[in-house]
Symmetry: C2
Subunit: 211 residues, 2 copies
């Protein structure tokens, strides 16, 4: 399938070099086809970019047990909710261990910085669902009713996961390693897991002393 190959290369190139930095010529050549096939299939560079965003959004929602985790949002047991939060974070860090994860992670990061319509499409899918699930799970796990407080907490958790991709250069310097290998990611995952428990416990304590 030419189209699939085109999309894979597109995500890689757009992620690595950005919308302006990537060239349709290079993408087409790497996919082993002519540049004009991009025009034919996607109407042009912008169309390919949006299609690449949809492709990322699909892959983000597919091949995982995200539905199972999101089902647990229906729970009202704090321990179950906490386990679900851990599961989401672990799964995300697991994905990052894959080598080809770079492409889509960079693609999304760029969209986070200056969002275009492509971000809407990605967030409309699995990404938005998981973010909202995280907020709800925090409410359940801590007994906090205030959605605003839970959203702020969710952002602080997302940041701890995101940082390995968003600030990869700083991480490499700080850890004095050329690339974040799986062993280091595992160690970091353990740190984040402990942090999550500490933060959730703190939030429970905050709630109780407020009463």
């Amino acid at each position: 399938m030419v189209q699939r190959r085109l999309l894979e290369i597109a995500v890689e190139q757009f992620g690595q070099r950005g919308l302006e930095g990537a060239s349709t010529r290079d993408i087409a050549a790497a996919a082993g086809t002519a540049m004009s096939s991009i025009t034919y299939h996607y109407g042009g560079k912008d169309g390919l970019y949006l299609a690449a965003a949809d492709f990322v959004a699909d892959q983000l929602g597919a091949d995982d047990d995200s539905e199972a985790i999101e089902e647990q949002t229906a729970t009202d047991d704090p321990a179950t909710a906490r386990a679900a939060i851990h599961a989401i974070v672990v799964r995300f860090l697991d994905r990052i261990k894959q080598r080809d994860a770079d492409s889509w992670a960079l693609f999304i990061m760029r969209e986070q910085m200056n969002p275009t319509e492509a971000f809407e499409r990605i967030y409309a899918g699995a990404m938005g669902r998981q973010s909202r699930a995280m907020v709800q799970l925090i409410c359940i796990a801590t007994g906090v009713k205030d959605g605003y407080a839970a959203r702020l907490a969710a952002i602080s958790l997302i940041g701890q996961v995101l940082v390995v991709k968003a600030a990869r250069a700083t991480c490499r310097r700080l850890l004095e390693c050329d690339q974040l290998n799986p062993a280091i990611i595992d160690d970091y995952a353990a740190r984040v897991a402990a942090n999550i428990d500490a933060i959730l416990d703190r939030m429970i304590a905050e709630r109780q002393e407020q009463a």
Copy 2:
């Protein structure tokens, strides 16, 4: 000063649109000069980009009390170290409240994703110093001797701060606001401050139960 104005615009444009996305014509025009003055002063686009990186690095180290904070690295009092950690985080989030902070934050973010020589220059300055100071302060605040563990913890703290810029689009969606206004940042800073205490306390507990 034409050169200073050129650098300010360059940071803004490169940050917003990336190295490839920004055009020397636009930058020169916005700075009220001819494009060829970029060639004259900086040798070309790449030279201007590196000069912009140096400019960012300088501003990052200047106009702040970072030296005062870094001096506190010399302390051996856990409470003082903890206060210093809080101070670093607060100062960073304070800066983000400024409107023009966007430019350099985006500039650095892009370099984090695909580091070039520009990142070396930025990290060689205040950024690297503060990162290392953070690690050391964590050691002092928790009594942890293991630098590796402290570095992992430092990354998790950096992530919580970084996320407001790195995942700004997600933050906006999650908080249902068009832009992260100062009031929200303050609320978030309070959350992060509580998180830091929770995490440091947890690390102290980990250390004690290990003994």
